[in-house]
C-alpha cells in the first residue's frame, strides 16, 4: 500500500538573490512499512523536499502533487496540515539537543504531543509515554520519564525524539539526518532502532541523509538527489551495488573504504548554483561521461532491469558503461621510520582542579597518552567526541599546557618554553582545523589570512609576501586571482584549502589535522584527502590526523591510535588493526564505520542491547 506518493514536484524558493530552484520534477513513492532513503550532498534539495512534505515551506512556490493517504497535501489548508503534522506525519530532526525543550521533562513533552491530537487523560498519556520510551530502549522508562533533556546523552535524546515521533503511531515518519550529530557507534543503534520501529508499528520512514553507505544497509528504496534533481532511484542495494547514474558511482568511489588505497577517485569541481535555471543535466560539468547532448537537453529517465531509474543520457548503467575508476596505485613511499619527529609521553590533563565550587577532584580529560610520530608518515587518531583527541592535538600543537607529561617536537621539549622559543616552535608545527567556516576570520581577505603567518612571524613583507601567498594558493589548488576575496565567497572545500595553505606557509615539518574533512561532502572530502596525501609526498611532511571516521583515518594513516575516555585503547599498524582488532571498542568502531564489516562480522543485535546498557 502506498502511503506517500510525490509526483512531478517542483519547488522554487524566492530569496533576495533570486529564486532558488530547490527541486525539479521529483517523483517517488513510499509504501507502508517501507524505509525510503533520500541521499544527497548539502544543497541537493533533500531537506527542502522533506520540509515541503511537512508543509513547512510557506513562502515557496510548489508545483506538482504530494499525495498522502489519498489526499493532496498541497491543497490542504494550513489548519488541516497542522492536524496532520505530528499525528499522521512525524518528523525527527538532525539535532536532538535543540529539538527538545530544555524547560520541560521529556514526559511532559511527549504527553503534550499526545494530547494535542488525542482526547485522552494525562494519566493515560503518561502511561503511553512510558510505554513508548520503553520501546525505544530507554532503561527504566517509568523513572526517566520525569527527567529533563539535559539528563540524557546525545543518543538517548535521539531515542526520546523517536519516542515522541512514534507516540501517535504516524503513518509516515520523516527522519532528516537523524544520526549526523551522533557518534558512530550510537548511529548504528539509532538506525537499528528506526528499522525495528517501522516493522513493529508499520510506519513508513523517509530517511534523509548525506551518507549513502548508511542507507545501503537499511533502505528498501533509495533516491539520490543532486542540485534538486532526482538523479537515481531504485531498490536500495541495487542503487548501492550497481549504480546506474555516474553521480552515484562517483559518490560511492569517493568514499574511502577497505579497498581504497592511494589517491581517491574524486568528483572534480563544485555543485552548481541552484539560482541558475538548469537547461541540460545538472551534473554535466562534473560528469566523467559527459556528452554534448548533456549540456543542452534535459536527460530522459532510463529504467533498468533491476528496478533502478536514472536521469541520464547514458543508455546503460554507469557502473557498466564507465570503466571503474582504478585508484592509481601509489608508489609505495617508504620514509625512514627511525626519525621520530613528535613524541608525547604520558600526557595528562585535568580540568577544574581549583574550581569555583571547590570540587577537589577535577575532570581527567587525558589519562596518560603516549605516542610517537615518525618523519614523513601519518599517525591517525580515532575516537568519538569527548574522548580527548582534540585536546591531545592542542597539547601537541603547544596551544594548551598539559598537567603532566612531556611533548617533544624534533627532540626538543615544548613544555614551559618562553615566549620567543614558543613563537619559534610555531614554524615547525601547524594545525588545520575542523570547521572551515569557523577557522577563517570572516572579516579578512583570503590573501591576508594566508599571509598571516608571514605577518605574525615577520618573515616576508610587501610584494614578497604577496607572491608567496599566491604560490601557496596555487599549491593547494586555489585560483591566486581570488586573493582579495572574503572567506564567505568560497565553498567549504575551498575554505579547507585556504586553511591548509595557511598551515603550509611557514614550511612546517609537522601538520596536525583536527577533523579536516568531517564538515565536507563526500565528493569534496575526496579532493581534500587527495590534496593532503599529495602534499605529504611532495613536501615530506609528517601528519597527525585526527578523526571520528575510521574509514577516513584508515585511508590516510600508516599507524592508528584508538582513543576512548582519554586513554589509548589500541594502537598498531593500520592493516593489522583493521584485520585483527583486539579491543572490543575498536571492533565496535569498525562495525559502525563499514557496512561490509557489519554484514559479515558484526552482529546488529548486540548493538541494540548495547543501547539499553547505555540507557542505564
Amino acid at each position: 500500500m502506498t502511503v506517500l506518493s510525490v509526483r512531478n514536484l517542483n519547488i522554487d524558493i524566492p530569496t533576495g538573490d533570486g529564486d532558488v530552484h530547490a527541486a525539479r520534477d521529483v517523483s517517488f513513492e513510499v509504501g507502508a512499512q517501507e524505509l525510503f532513503g533520500i541521499a544527497g550532498e548539502s544543497g541537493s534539495g533533500k531537506s527542502v523536499l522533506s520540509q515541503a512534505i511537512m508543509g513547512l515551506l510557506p513562502s515557496a512556490r510548489i508545483r506538482g502533487e504530494i499525495l498522502f493517504e489519498g489526499r493532496d497535501l498541497l491543497k490542504l489548508s494550513p489548519r488541516q496540515m497542522q492536524h496532520l503534522r505530528g499525528d499522521r506525519i512525524a518528523m525527527i530532526s538532525q539535532d536532538p539537543l535543540s529539538s527538545l525543550h530544555p524547560f520541560y521533562t521529556i514526559g511532559q513533552q511527549i504527553i503534550e504531543a499526545i494530547r494535542t491530537h488525542r482526547k485522552v487523560s494525562s494519566r493515560d498519556a503518561l502511561a503511553e509515554a512510558i510505554d513508548v520510551l520503553g520501546r525505544v530502549g530507554i532503561y527504566e522508562p517509568d523513572k526517566r520519564v520525569h527527567d529533563y533533556p539535559h539528563q540524557f546523552s546525545g543518543g538517548q535524546r535521539q531515542r526520546v525524539m523517536i519516542a515522541m515521533a512514534i507516540a501517535l503511531r504516524p503513518a509516515l515518519l520523516i527522519a532528516d539526518e537523524p544520526t549526523t550529530a551522533l557518534d558512530v557507534t550510537v548511529q548504528a543503534q539509532i538506525i537499528a532502532l528506526l528499522n525495528e520501529m517501522r516493522r513493529e508499528l508499520g510506519t513508513a520512514i523517509i530517511m534523509v541523509t548525506h551518507d549513502l553507505e548508511l542507507l545501503s544497509s537499511v533502505a528498501d528504496h533509495a533516491m539520490v538527489m543532486y542540485a534538486g534533481n532526482r538523479m537515481e532511484f531504485g531498490p536500495g542495494d541495487a542503487v548501492l551495488k550497481a549504480p546506474s547514474h555516474p553521480y552515484t558511482l562517483g559518490l560511492l568511489q569517493s568514499s574511502p573504504n577497505q579497498e581504497t588505497k592511494g589517491a581517491l577517485h574524486s568528483i572534480a569541481g563544485q555543485p552548481p548554483s541552484l539560482l541558475i535555471e538548469q537547461k541540460g543535466c545538472a551534473f554535466a560539468d562534473r560528469c566523467p561521461a559527459v556528452m554534448d547532448v548533456c549540456r543542452n537537453q534535459r536527460p530522459p529517465i532510463r529504467q533498468f532491469e533491476d528496478g533502478t531509474h536514472s536521469l541520464c543520457w547514458l543508455e546503460e548503467k554507469a557502473s557498466k558503461a564507465l570503466t571503474p575508476a582504478q585508484a592509481t596505485p601509489e608508489q609505495t613511499y617508504t620514509p625512514d621510520t627511525s626519525d621520530i619527529v613528535v613524541s608525547a609521553s604520558d600526557v595528562r590533563l585535568t580540568y577544574g582542579g581549583r574550581s569555583l565550587f571547590l570540587r577537589s577532584s577535577g575532570v581527567e580529560v587525558l589519562k596518560g597518552v603516549s605516542l610517537e610520530l615518525a618523519r614523513g608518515t601519518t599517525l591517525g587518531i580515532v575516537g568519538e567526541s569527548g574522548c580527548g583527541k582534540s585536546t591531545l592535538a592542542r597539547i601537541i600543537a603547544g596551544l594548551l599546557p598539559p598537567s603532566a607529561g612531556d611533548v617533544a617536537i624534533e627532540g626538543k621539549s615544548i613544555i614551559d618554553l618562553d615566549r620567543a622559543e614558543w613563537v619559534e616552535t610555531r614554524k615547525r608545527v601547524q594545525m588545520v582545523f575542523q570547521d572551515p567556516f569557523g577557522s577563517l576570520n570572516p572579516k579578512r581577505r583570503v590573501g591576508s589570512i594566508i599571509g598571516d603567518p608571514f605577518r605574525i612571524q615577520n618573515v616576508a613583507k610587501g610584494d614578497d609576501r604577496r607572491n608567496r601567498v599566491r604560490e601557496l594558493m596555487e599549491l593547494v589548488g586555489l585560483n591566486p586571482e581570488h586573493y582579495n576575496r572574503f572567506p564567505s565567497e568560497f565553498s567549504g572545500g575551498q575554505r579547507q584549502r585556504i586553511g591548509i595553505a595557511r598551515a603550509l606557509a611557514l614550511n612546517p615539518s609537522i601538520i596536525i589535522f583536527d577533523e579536516p574533512v568531517s564538515a565536507l561532502d563526500v565528493s569534496i572530502q575526496a579532493q581534500i584527502l587527495n590534496l593532503i596525501a599529495k602534499l605529504q609526498r611532495d613536501l615530506g611532511l609528517s601528519y597527525l590526523f585526527i578523526s571520528h571516521d575510521l574509514a577516513v583515518v584508515r585511508h590516510v594513516s600508516a599507524q592508528i591510535i584508538v582513543m576512548k575516555d582519554g586513554q589509548v585503547v589500541e594502537r598498531g599498524a593500520t592493516q593489522e588493526l583493521y584485520n585483527d582488532p583486539q579491543h572490543p571498542y575498536t571492533r565496535e568502531l569498525l562495525a559502525a564505520a563499514d557496512p561490509n564489516y557489519r554484514n559479515v562480522g558484526g552482529a546488529p543485535g548486540s548493538m541494540i542491547s548495547e543501547g539499553t546498557v547505555h540507557g542505564a
Binding site: 592542542r394 575542523q434 582579495n484 576575496r485
Partner: protein, 310 residues
C-alpha cells in the same frame, strides 16, 4: 593591498537591506536635513538677517511685549525677548548634534577598549573592569552633575565629560559579551597557533568582527546623549545662555509660563528633540536589521544553503 575589491557581498547587501527599510530611510533623511541645518546655521542666520542672540524689539514682539507667532518673517515665531526661534533652533541643532555625536564617539571608544580588554583577558582583569562598570552605573547622574557644576560652573566640556563618563558602560558590556564568544572561535586559535600575540589577536582578529555592534550601539547612544544634554541645559547645568540649545529654549519657555500663550515656544524645540531622538533610534534599529546576522540568520542561511556550493 590592491584596491581592486569584490566586496559586493556584505556591503552591498547591507545597503540594499537598509534602503528597503522605509522607516529607516525617512529617519536618515531627517537626520541629514538636521545636519545640513546645523552646519548651515550661519547661512540661515545670514539669509534671514537674524542672528541667534539678536533681539528684535520692534518686529519680534507685539506692542504689549509678547512674542509674535510664526509668520513670514519669523518662520517659527519669536521668543519672549524677541529672538528668532527658527535661527535659534538651527544653532541649537548644532550644539545638540555636536554633543550627541562627539559624546557617543568618545563613549564608544572607551567602551570598546574596555570591553575588548575585559572580554579578551578575562580573569581578574575582567572582574576589576566589571566592578568599575557596576560602580559607574550606580552613581546618581544628576546629583553628581549638580555637585560638579557647583564646583566648576557649567560649561560645554563639563557636560560632555559627564555624558561620556556615564554612557560608555552599555557599550562596554555589549562588547565584552561579544568578545567572550569571539575569542573561542577557531580562527583565534588558528592565529595563536601561528604565534600571534595578544595585541595582534585583539586588533586584527577580534576587532573587525565587532563592526556591527559598534555601529549599532554608537548610533543608539547619540539620542541618549542628546536627551542627556537637553536635560542638563533645561536644568541650567549645561549650555550657558544666551547661547541657544534645545534644552535651554524649553527651560526658558517653561520658566515664564509664557508657553501658556506662545505654544510655538514649546512645540518647535520639543518637536525637534523628539524627532531627532526618534530618528536616531529608528536608524539604529534599521542598522541592526541590516547588519546584525543574528536577526536575519535563518532566512539568510536558507537562501545561502542551496546556492552555497559545498
Amino acid at each position: 593591498m590592491a584596491p581592486e575589491i569584490k566586496q559586493r557581498s556584505s556591503f552591498d547587501l547591507t545597503m540594499r537591506r537598509l534602503l528597503a527599510d522605509r522607516a529607516g530611510l525617512v529617519s536618515l533623511t531627517f537626520i541629514v536635513i538636521l545636519v545640513v541645518m546645523a552646519i548651515g546655521a550661519d547661512g540661515i542666520a545670514a539669509l534671514t538677517g537674524h542672528s541667534a542672540i539678536a533681539q528684535f524689539r520692534d518686529t519680534g514682539l507685539t506692542p504689549t511685549g509678547l512674542p509674535v507667532p510664526p509668520s513670514g518673517e519669523f518662520l517659527f515665531g519669536t521668543d519672549q525677548i524677541g529672538r528668532d526661534l527658527f535661527v535659534r533652533l538651527a544653532y541649537g541643532a548644532r550644539i545638540s548634534l555636536a554633543i550627541g555625536m562627539v559624546a557617543s564617539l568618545l563613549a564608544a571608544a572607551i567602551g570598546v577598549t574596555i570591553g575588548l580588554v575585559a572580554g579578551y583577558f578575562g580573569g581578574w582583569v575582567d572582574a576589576v573592569l566589571g566592578r568599575v562598570m557596576d560602580l559607574v552605573m550606580s552613581i546618581p547622574v544628576l546629583l553628581c552633575m549638580l555637585s560638579l557644576v557647583a564646583v566648576f560652573g557649567p560649561s560645554v566640556s563639563l557636560s560632555l565629560s559627564v555624558i561620556v563618563f556615564f554612557s560608555w558602560t552599555t557599550m562596554g558590556r555589549v562588547i565584552r559579551g561579544q568578545v567572550l564568544s569571539l575569542k573561542e572561535r577557531e580562527f583565534v586559535l588558528a592565529s595563536r597557533s601561528m604565534g600571534a600575540g595578544h595585541f595582534s589577536i585583539m586588533f586584527t582578529d577580534i576587532l573587525p568582527n565587532l563592526g556591527a555592534p559598534i555601529i549599532i550601539y554608537t548610533t543608539m547612544m547619540v539620542p541618549t546623549s542628546i536627551i542627556f544634554e537637553a536635560t542638563l541645559s533645561f536644568l541650567g547645568l549645561g549650555i550657558v545662555p544666551p547661547a541657544p540649545s534645545w534644552g535651554g529654549m524649553l527651560a526658558e519657555a517653561a520658566n515664564n509660563s509664557i508657553y501658556m500663550f506662545a505654544w510655538w515656544l514649546v512645540l518647535f524645540p520639543g518637536l525637534a528633540l523628539l524627532l531627532t531622538t526618534l530618528s536616531f533610534n529608528i536608524l539604529g534599529d534599521a542598522l541592526r536589521d541590516a547588519l546584525d546576522p543574528a536577526n536575519k540568520g535563518p532566512k539568510a542561511a536558507k537562501a545561502k544553503k542551496p546556492a552555497g556550493v559545498a
